[in-house]
Subunit: 215 residues, 2 copies
């Protein structure tokens, strides 16, 4: 039974990491407290939204003063489940996979890259930025042995669904898909899809519209 968490809206969950980033920055600059106004400015949103979002986590501010940076950072981190590390495995050691493996932001924020996995025998056994590349045949073993929580799919589109199926079967907890195809996983397995080219196409739409209205 869920004790707290009286259902936090999806839109709010998606913003929590942004607030967290701002809080880390404030913490590093030795700020003691912060107002919703300032936090809103740093996060690029409206101050009322910040207050409403944070109120879903609990009542952690002080009227007339603001929020204690340290304490709020702790609470946001806890809400996001970042108390302990979540080891990730990256499937697909092409360019994107290797870049992701080397991205310090992951380890820094509690997502150590525990394994790189590929089908290509020529890549297996190599070490990319200190992470060994394993053969996809060992996927299930690796998930179990290394306690992998999250699978990151960085394969070509054609292989993505099969990889997702194997990850889920192996007991992975959630999936982040970079392959440019929609994949499906069972209900209850959190899934996020990121397509870099999609973002450019969205920009293309708006800039084209700007050009049209200037004409």
């Amino acid at each position: 039974m869920a004790r707290r968490t009286p259902t936090i809206p999806e839109a709010t969950v998606a913003r929590l990491p942004i607030y967290r980033r701002a809080l880390v920055e404030l913490d590093e600059s030795s700020a003691i407290n912060v107002s919703s106004e300032r936090l809103a400015e740093m996060s690029g949103v409206n101050a009322a939204k910040v207050r409403k979002d944070l109120s879903y986590l609990g009542s952690y501010g002080t009227r007339g003063v603001g929020y204690d940076v340290d304490y709020l950072l702790f609470q946001v981190s806890r809400a996001l489940g970042l108390n302990n590390d979540w080891p990730v495995a990256i499937v697909g050691s092409g360019n994107l996979g290797q870049a992701l493996a080397n991205y310090r932001g992951f380890t820094q924020r509690g997502f150590p890259v525990a394994a790189l996995i590929d089908v290509d025998d020529k890549k297996v056994g190599a070490t990319v930025h200190g992470i060994e590349v394993h053969h996809v045949d060992r996927l299930e073993d690796l998930v179990a042995e290394l306690g992998i929580a999250i699978g990151i799919i960085a394969t070509p589109a054609g292989a993505a669904q099969a990889v997702a199926d194997r990850l889920v079967e192996a007991g992975i907890q959630s999936v982040l898909n970079f392959a440019p195809v929609v994949i499906s996983v069972p209900d209850g397995v959190p899934l996020r899809q990121v397509d870099l080219a999609t973002e450019l196409q969205i920009l293309s739409f708006y800039q084209q519209r700007n050009a049209a209205s200037d004409r």
Copy 2:
């Protein structure tokens, strides 16, 4: 003056690239037409939503039959402004910048990487996957000379805002930011922010909640 485009909702715009991807796949498998149901399945959404989304572009379906794949693909591409190529410049040739430079999905979908830009003299002059690395001092010249439409920021967080300012000043049309910081650009300049670690944190939230309710 805008002739068509009776304002397409943001949520719809964000889905058009997904539909387009599905249509490309259908086209490659020589499908002639497709129902909203099938398209919905391939895109991971509800069929009614597909129909409503497509109806914002115009009335391109045939009742009782579905949509002509070729024609719909053309219309969606046109709505997204993908009739002509939009050259992009990637600022920051670290791991992410290099991976993006080598990502075939960009060029394939009409976003050729025309330049890589860095501050580090040691990197300038090198060629990464056939793309020359230029010094950031030449940013303004490059935007003008190469007709750069979109600037991709793949720098450390600290440099992102300054780079964005220079890109906008140089006349860029839109900005895609991968640096883990919120940046701001003038109204009218489309901006999208992608933070890879944010996605993992969102997953962390939901998988933690699952674990809590299983307890």
